[in-house]
Symmetry: C2
Subunit: 503 residues, 2 copies
Amino acid sequence: MEIFLKNSAWSKLGSYLKDTQILGSIQSTLYWDQNTVMPKNGSSWRGEQLTYLAKILHARNSSDEFLNLINLAKTELNESSDCLNEENSSKKKNIELLNKEFDRQRKLDPKLVANLAKAKSQGYESWQNAKRNSDFKIFLPYFEELIILRREEANQLSDKLSPWETLAQPYEPDINKDWLFNIFNPLKESIPSMLEEIKEIDKKKWDIDSSAQQVLCNKLLDNFGRNEDLVAIAESPHPFSITLGPKDYRITTRVVKGEPFSSFLATAHEWGHSIYEQGLPNETHQWFAWPLGQATSMAVHESQSLFWENRIVKSKAFSRSFFQYFLQSGCPLKNYEELWKSMNIIKPGLNRVEADELSYGMHILIRTELEIELIEGNLKAKDLPFEWNKKYKELLGIEPCNDVEGCLQDVHWSEGAFGYFPSYLIGHLISAQLTHQLEKDIGLIDQLIDNNDYQTIINWLKKNVHCHGRSLNAMELVKKISGNELSSKFFLDYLKHKIDQLN
Amino acid sequence: MEIFLKNSAWSKLGSYLKDTQILGSIQSTLYWDQNTVMPKNGSSWRGEQLTYLAKILHARNSSDEFLNLINLAKTELNESSDCLNEENSSKKKNIELLNKEFDRQRKLDPKLVANLAKAKSQGYESWQNAKRNSDFKIFLPYFEELIILRREEANQLSDKLSPWETLAQPYEPDINKDWLFNIFNPLKESIPSMLEEIKEIDKKKWDIDSSAQQVLCNKLLDNFGRNEDLVAIAESPHPFSITLGPKDYRITTRVVKGEPFSSFLATAHEWGHSIYEQGLPNETHQWFAWPLGQATSMAVHESQSLFWENRIVKSKAFSRSFFQYFLQSGCPLKNYEELWKSMNIIKPGLNRVEADELSYGMHILIRTELEIELIEGNLKAKDLPFEWNKKYKELLGIEPCNDVEGCLQDVHWSEGAFGYFPSYLIGHLISAQLTHQLEKDIGLIDQLIDNNDYQTIINWLKKNVHCHGRSLNAMELVKKISGNELSSKFFLDYLKHKIDQLN
């Protein structure tokens, strides 16, 4: 029971991590404030506050003191009498993850770290500028620099994984390209022809008053069982979910003119992220600060948000149960089937964020293939617009008129974030595979929705998915829950069934 | 021009102060979040974040490094060639103020500091408990401890000022008792008989819908010229104004059921605090961090909020100009005169926060006399309820039924804050004396309001009051602007005139 001994190496490491977590959560609070309420002119000083915190945090995460505390805790753990009990094995996993991150911080040449920070901020700025002017050439030199620097980073970090794989690790631990294409290829083979089967639906133009949308979002969260003492909500330009403390969760949404479902679906999506974080191991403050108390990967995170957005809210049963509230909000649709169809319009477009469930995967495939070629293949940065447009034509049958509609649309690469995109699609696959198991265990989702029984769904998710934190990576988690390796089968089955229903 | 030399002792001191200010403003951001949007269960972790920051801030403000930087800057300044120009005299004042605060921090025995921190938090907790149970005895032992410790603090800090005077310095620099009673006594002599002259007005019961109150508050701020890029607003349990950065100001208000003017008057009040802070010297980030860039005293701060609440919003001209908006909000009053009278009901009550302009002074006088007796006189803590009730009977002709209505109503003493109360009343006096000069300089307020010309008022305040920061204390500021020492004459004249109008 040395975890409770005040002077053990373990508890000293815990105190250190807790202080780091306090600083990190302060940073998150400033981020939340910046995006929900801060007046515009506050941004320059906010930047100074964030830079100051980032400096302290970086120093803490790469200090000799930290390394020493990790090593002492490791020794203490190895000397402990019963090495094989569950508590000790959790501790070992914690140490392993801490070591891995520490190594990452220390392996990098500080000069490279400084150059990267600068290149990221210049990249983001020039990308915004390029977007405003719809001119990829403005962004190009900074984009090239970012690619060079991140290749160098991959080089300094690893000799086992390929450069792109190395860069993808922080988002998706243990990911590799073979595994990835093994699960992505069936999608690439099936989805384009499935898209052709879709009967086009007339998209009627209508809208819901902004305050009525707020009422709907609140009603949704109430139904899902939000605890107001635990979860606060606000509006922000881009919806997000963030955790500010072990018992302090925040969700934002936004109202988009002419898109009556936008704020509603975003609320469901962010709820999914938040309820995952709420279910992470957090019996004590300590857990919040240790690696095992954190989310395991971006894909798992995304699987949870997509589950609530697509499997719950976009289901027929849900439209049936919520149609009355849409009517009250002034929605002009005649019955719940119309509501359901309006929420499920499938039509390939150029924009990833606005994509439907079916074409979404193609947007991700295109980006994944392109970024691998950019980082470790033969694709030159200057040829990106041409290749981008070519792939859209091939896979979705449409072509951007300009780079704003095309390769300049996403923020990720402008900040040098390579390796992030696949998580979105893996999230879809995980969601489908877990939902399959969930329905086996607790019954059909439609029935649970009919009974307004979201608590049973949440309990299942908490018990099977959320509670593991980082003790299992995404692949291990899916295997443990479903008994099978992650595959695209369940997602494709789900899509086929949905198309049949819609047609 | 050594202020611009990067390696001068002056600029090193500036960098140090800026980092301190960054941390302080982060603390303020957490406070804002806590009071406006944080979910209830977040409070324990928020407490940990705030404790962590307080620890770092205290260390910075009492460190050898800081002392050394102050001394080096002082030496550099003394060695500078032209000691008498304006820039150098500002610098000298800055150093003087830094030295004073540093001395205060260092003179205190760290043991006493720790004991005080504990006693304050216990005091606050037991006060809440005592209030809930309407039982002063629950609070008494903690209150006694706080008095003993703060006496000891005064003892360690000063040998020139009396103990109460020493404790009052952080709120009201250079205050002393003789000066204070010299300006307060005429109020004590006149107000009780003035209260007897008041004709009682029937207070009709009516209310405004909470969202309509929000509209009114926004309209008010728009009229006053709020810049939305600079000032954000929100709701909180207790209205406050706070500055989070050199260009980031926040205001809160609250809606009180059955009190249709509460949120409106609070908005005007907090606007006054905020516009003062917005007018402080802030040409560069540096100023924000230096003492001269800060508000000079609580009384001056309060004079600014009271000016907007009482001199502007409670004026007849304002009711005339805003009656249309009150009508639109569903207010049942018939004309602007009724509106004006409803905002200016004068009737002695037991509660300070809800008091009218006339009786307010008596609430403060009672508290000021009592706390001086508690700290340096013969009043024993256990006798406070009796003395409190006696004074209310004497000065306001009414008596509390219990201690919740009486000596337990305010938070200040529960946290050991002695010396704060007089600032509220001095604020009324300053507001009256400055308004007298303002009208001499730019014409009658009623006329400016009729012309919706708030900008001329703001410009006068900025130029004459706000821009001085801490270069002048409250008394010096009033003397400079009005040509006379601060006196109660202008406030009493104003009150007499108002009563005549109302009767």
